[in-house]
């Protein structure tokens, strides 16, 4: 079992080029701006946001929901494709795991930004009450972070051992770190069996935990009486939405990584084709739940529901609503149904549309509902009847997105983004099956 030099040369982490450095600096600047805005928010209070007593949640919450949704990609691609034995996943899983880790960590941070008293964070543990959906979130998010990290780490161990030697001269520090993290991996049968078993356990565990995470996220809303949230459809609606957001993000990141790292030999057009089919499945499922979510209340046309739907279909949120539904869901489905639409470049554009659509979709789920409560909005300034994020909110939210990108960038820089050991194994298997045939 020898790993070819070519494989190592192609897949070993490389130092940043000029573009990498500029990109990292760009992200850092956005993050610094966001941190400054956040400190200002801490000092002045959430007055600096455009949230008020009616629009009491804004883009902090919708951004949080977006991160949670995106983190679902780890469960879907890695675990489900693994259990269904879809071998085309090999070059994609590591990137999916990286996105998952970055998104769930940022979800945890984002939710704290929305808390007006982050200094009292410990109250969530000291005075925790099990009946509050927020407490369920406090339990499930750290659990998902741990499982996601393990799912990233376990398959990484053999690759780290492989790369330790080749990197010794070019990047000695990294090589040393790899050596430690490889946990004395020597590729023996016993070790392999143990690793295989550990991965299997984690891959199975992440499915129920991932589903629970999305469910709890949906329940944050559907456990209230609010029109537009009070829906039994909400958990599956969120799960299918997470499927879309996660795979969409995966498409975008895969394309960029392949382009920057010149991995065309490993991530082929056929991978994009498969991924495109996967994404169209996700979009169709989500469209189905969207129809459920909007059509049934529209049909029964209860007064409160209609106030909500009018706001979305023809009212102040209509342009955004239709842009998200058509641009972020219907159009991608139409394009991806055709083979030509599933080529890398077209997939990249569609992926960006899907991710943008997913982000704004959360905004549409969170805010409009709050702006038509059961009792009329009276006795408060006129501006409280609308909501659009303030500069502070944009800066801070931009920083959280930049931080997610930075985590992804750093992990892509320092880890082999395509599993080396497994690629080698698969190549060997392919070779031997060819030999036996001839």
């Amino acid at each position: 079992m020898k790993i070819s030099d070519q494989l190592i040369k192609d897949l070993a982490p490389k130092k940043f080029g000029k573009r990498g450095v500029i990109w990292t600096i760009f992200l850092s600047v956005i993050i610094v701006l966001g941190i400054i805005a956040y400190i200002d928010q801490l000092i002045k209070g959430q007055e600096v946001t455009n949230m008020r007593d009616y629009a009491l949640w804004g883009i902090y919450i919708s951004n949080f929901v977006f991160f949670v949704a995106t983190s679902f990609v780890g469960s879907v691609t890695v675990a489900i494709l693994r259990l269904t034995k879809n071998s085309w996943r090999t070059p994609l899983v590591r990137i999916a795991e990286i996105i998952s880790v970055a998104a769930i960590i940022m979800a945890g941070i984002t939710i704290m930004i929305d808390m007006a008293r982050p200094d009292r964070l410990l109250n969530l543990f000291i005075h925790a009450r099990l009946q509050s959906p927020i407490t369920w979130d406090v339990v499930i998010i750290p659990t998902y972070i741990v499982i996601s990290l393990l799912l990233l780490y376990f398959p990484l161990i053999p690759d780290l051992a492989i790369l330790k030697g080749p990197l010794e001269k070019t990047q000695p520090r990294l090589s040393k770190l790899y050596g430690k993290m490889a946990l004395k991996w020597n590729g023996s049968k016993a070790q392999k069996a143990l690793q295989e078993k550990s991965i299997r356990i984690i891959a199975i565990m992440i499915i129920p935990v991932g589903l629970l995470l999305q469910t709890i996220d949906a329940w944050l809303f559907s456990t209230t009486y609010r029109i537009g949230w009070d829906s039994t459809n909400f958990a599956p609606y969120f799960i299918s939405g997470a499927f879309v957001a996660g795979v969409g993000a995966l498409v975008v990141v895969i394309f960029l990584v392949r382009w920057f790292k010149k991995l065309e030999n490993y991530i082929t057009d056929s991978h994009f084709d498969k991924l495109g089919k996967f994404l169209v499945l996700a979009c169709l499922t989500y469209l189905y739940f969207n129809v459920n979510e909007y059509f049934i209340p529209f049909f029964t046309a209860k007064k409160g529901e209609m106030a909500h739907l009018d706001m979305l279909f023809t009212g102040s949120y209509a342009p955004l609503f239709w842009l998200v539904i058509i641009g972020g869901l219907v159009l991608p489905i139409l394009v991806l149904l055709f083979k030509k639409g599933r080529r890398p470049k077209s997939m990249f554009v569609i992926g960006i549309l899907v991710v943008l659509g997913s982000w704004w979709k959360r905004f549409i789920i969170v805010t409009p509902t709050l702006l038509h409560p059961f009792l009329p909005i009276q006795g408060v300034p006129e501006s409280w009847r609308h909501y659009f994020p303030s500069t502070h909110e944009w800066l801070i939210t931009g920083a959280t997105l930049a931080m997610a990108f930075l985590i992804i960038t750093v992990l892509v820089r320092y880890l082999p983004v395509i599993p080396i050991q497994r690629t080698a194994d698969e190549q060997q298997m392919l070779q031997s099956s060819k030999n036996s045939k001839s």
Partner: protein
């Protein structure tokens, strides 16, 4: 060979750990059982005592088993702010037929709770069910629900329900997640988006009240004083007034006797002018509660706006769609 050694060592550790766990659990169990067994045939002093049970039968007990009970110190002495006033259940009745949108209730509430934000705790809504029905004024306070949605969703028990019916907020504990505000169907909760700046008078009130009732600052019963940045506030049914045997500020301020406040256990409510039987009032005037269908079980009842003596238009000159807290220069 080395491989083999490793395996047996692993097995040994694995089995050893399991065995240890079983032993530990078994040991604890055994000691529990044995202590129970041992307790039964206690030595006994040989002497017996005659005692009377609560239902009046005489029994004989070994005198060695008789232990003097420690007197409870907590009983009836300490007032628990999370339990509330013993044997009370506060309710409010709002008679919509009498409301002329005089807004004295709101002004009094704003003043006594030192409300500095833009959203009052007490609001008088201009309501109209449909085009063909008459408009009416509807004052709304916190409903102090018996099944409060806000309390259910609070992750830190900062907002709580008391035995005397009040739903209050511990703003020293609130983390500012605003989930309670999203959960409340009556939109009654307000948030301190910035530093409340309640002024000097509020501090004087606070000190006076602290002296009178001997409690810490930022007490949930404390008339919204002090409000704290990044926490939630709302109508508190004025426990500081109740404690002094007074009616809530909105009740006493109303010139039209719209608000009745009282105790459900005593079945009486008072609007500052008359005391009436709660059950009779609700029966005679067909009282109802807001959004009964949600199952929140509010403590505030409404009497329908029937037979109104004054035109709806009379209140319109006071109606301000975009303001509920008057901004005064000197606070």
């Amino acid at each position: 060979m080395e491989e083999n050694n490793k395996k047996t060592r692993r097995k040994f550790i694995d089995k050893g750990l399991k065995l240890g766990l079983v032993t530990a659990i078994g040991g604890v169990g055994l000691s529990k059982i044995s202590s129970k067994l041992a307790a039964k045939p206690s030595k006994g002093s040989g002497e017996t005592m005659e005692l009377m049970t609560t239902d009046g039968t005489l029994i004989q007990v070994d005198s060695a088993e008789v232990v003097k009970q420690k007197p409870s110190h907590d009983h009836d002495e300490k007032y628990n702010v999370r339990e509330g006033m013993p044997n009370r259940k506060f309710v409010m009745v709002i008679d919509l037929a009498k409301c002329k949108n005089a807004l004295k209730c709101q002004n009094a509430c704003n003043k006594h709770h030192y409300i500095t934000g833009d959203n009052a705790w007490l609001k008088v809504y201009k309501m109209q069910e449909s085009e063909d029905t008459a408009p009416y004024w509807m004052p709304s306070t916190c409903m102090h629900c018996d099944k409060p949605a806000c309390v259910t969703v609070c992750p830190v028990d900062a907002t709580f329900k008391r035995r005397d019916g009040l739903v209050l907020i511990d703003n020293e504990r609130c983390i500012g997640c605003r989930f309670c505000m999203a959960a409340c169907p009556y939109s009654t909760r307000v948030f301190n988006w910035s530093e409340p700046n309640q002024g000097e008078t509020s501090e004087i009130t606070l000190e006076m009240d602290m002296d009178l009732h001997q409690h810490a600052p930022s007490h949930p019963e404390h008339a919204g004083v002090p409000s704290i940045k990044g926490t939630v506030d709302k109508c508190d049914f004025c426990p500081h007034a109740i404690a002094n045997g007074e009616l809530p500020h909105c009740v006493t301020a109303c010139p039209n006797g719209v608000f009745y406040f009282g105790d459900k256990y005593e079945d009486t409510v008072n609007n500052g002018e008359e005391t009436v039987r709660l059950s009779k009032l609700l029966k005679d005037k067909a009282g109802y509660r807001l959004m009964e269908s949600l199952g929140t079980e509010p403590s505030v009842y409404y009497l329908p706006p029937t037979d109104r003596l004054v035109d709806f238009e009379d209140g319109l000159d006071k109606y301000k769609e975009f303001e509920s807290v008057e901004k005064t220069e000197s606070l």
